[in-house]
């Protein structure tokens, strides 16, 4: 029981034509095949958000998406955020506000925040909390993360 699947996918602006196994997860594809190890694996069951990426504008847990499913899709991972060596305002703010400790949750946290700010440039605290409610952080206590997202929103508004 097995068949190879050919997919075409755009990841961080680059087009890829790839052959994947049916049981390859999007997470495996990113980390193991493409070396995009910014996307993290922790729980593997959709609960922690470490593996969050943006697919066609919406966040998904890449540990629960088959690589075969992303045929024809646009994916953004944390590696796709900086442009020409410049960090994205969210990345800058996370550093400035001390919102990164061990850093394991950070890529997912930033992508959930980006998906929010792309649609809602001026979110309330409540909206920010909902947007990152699927991203667990065991280090920071969230306060600095909230602050970083607020400050990035302000920067992006200017």
């Amino acid at each position: 029981m097995d068949n190879k699947i050919n997919i075409k996918v755009n990841i961080n602006g680059d087009d890829y034509s790839l052959e994947v196994e049916p049981n390859t997860l999007l997470l495996d594809l990113l980390r193991n095949k493409l070396g995009l190890t910014g996307t993290k694996l922790a729980c593997g069951t959709g609960e922690c958000g470490a593996c969050t990426v943006i697919m066609d504008g919406l966040t998904v847990n890449s540990c629960l998406v088959l690589a075969a499913e992303v045929d024809g899709k646009n994916i953004t991972t944390i590696e796709g955020l900086s442009k020409n060596g410049e960090l994205h305002p969210l990345q800058e703010s996370f550093i400035e506000e001390g919102a990164v400790q061990c850093g394991f949750c950070t890529p997912g946290m930033i992508l959930s925040s980006k998906a929010l700010l792309d649609k809602n440039p001026n979110p309330t605290d409540e909206e920010i909390k909902i947007a990152i409610s699927g991203n667990l952080c065991r280090c920071t206590g969230y306060k600095k993360i909230l602050k970083a997202i607020r400050s990035a929103a302000q920067k992006m508004a200017c």
Binding site: M1, D2, N3, I5, P22, N23, T24, L25, D28, L41, C43, G44, T45, G46, E47, G49, T52, G57, L58, T59, V60, N61, C63, L64, V65, L66, A68, E69, D71, S112, A115, L116, K119, N120, E126, E127, I130, A131, S133, G134, N135
Partner: protein, 305 residues
Amino acid sequence: MHTNTRILANKFEYLDPKSLSEALNILDEYQKKNIKILAGGTDLLVKMKTIELNIDYLLYIKEIAELNFINTSNGLSIGATIPFSHIIKEDKIKTEYTALYEAIQAIAAPAIRNMGTVAGNIGNASPAADTVPALIVFDAQVLIESKQSKRTLFLKDLFLGPGKTVLRNDELITRIEVPEVKPNTGSAFIKKSRVKADLAKINLAVAVQRKGQNCENCKIAFGSVAATVVRAENTEKLLEGKALTEELISKAAQGVADEIKPIDDIRSTAEYRIAMSREMLQDALSLAWARTYSEAKPNLKGGGE
């Protein structure tokens, strides 16, 4: 039980039809084999990682464009593959099917709501599924199609037990139909869980229709208190034709525990569930009753994606 959530060890063949007729043909041809329908994967892929399922074929239905819709012109018609986060963008869900709106908001977190579907929530047949009690109090029906047949069932008649439905191997839920809400109807959904994103220890949806000062019609559905989602029909009858005063609501709450059969499991105990069912019924009924007055429009928070 072998548990390795880091990889998907199961080997299977992946089938991704682009049309409904193609999907139904595949189900017809493979019905005697180990085939499973895959939508958002938020239940199925977790299960495939954590329990031995013996799946040889996965039928991925999200490429079927004709199932990815929501239509609100006459009641609600929800296609099988539209994700939760798109459904709750419809204002009508918030204003008229408030319990369903609240149930969807109570599911996990944005990424899961971007992936998961109502048909998957139903197909998984968990007694804790959040949208099921909410859909049942609005008399939802499910359209089930196969190559050979087409049938419509009331959602409440679909479940046989945890993980078990009346669906045949060659059948697919294609859409969920919910009738138009009657005037002066109010509804509410309440869930108790360990943390917000968890599955329910107990959940409850209520819809009441008011005529003048009295309750004309009332529907109450509890989840996670029996092998399937259950209606509290005796309590519904007790309330119908009467004004929902505080005294009556509290009387109903005392009786409702007799209508549920909770068990002890990993999420909670029977004792907790019985005690909570009373409190939750009072809260949900009061809220739904207040919402039958149009001036008491629900104050609901935005969803986020």
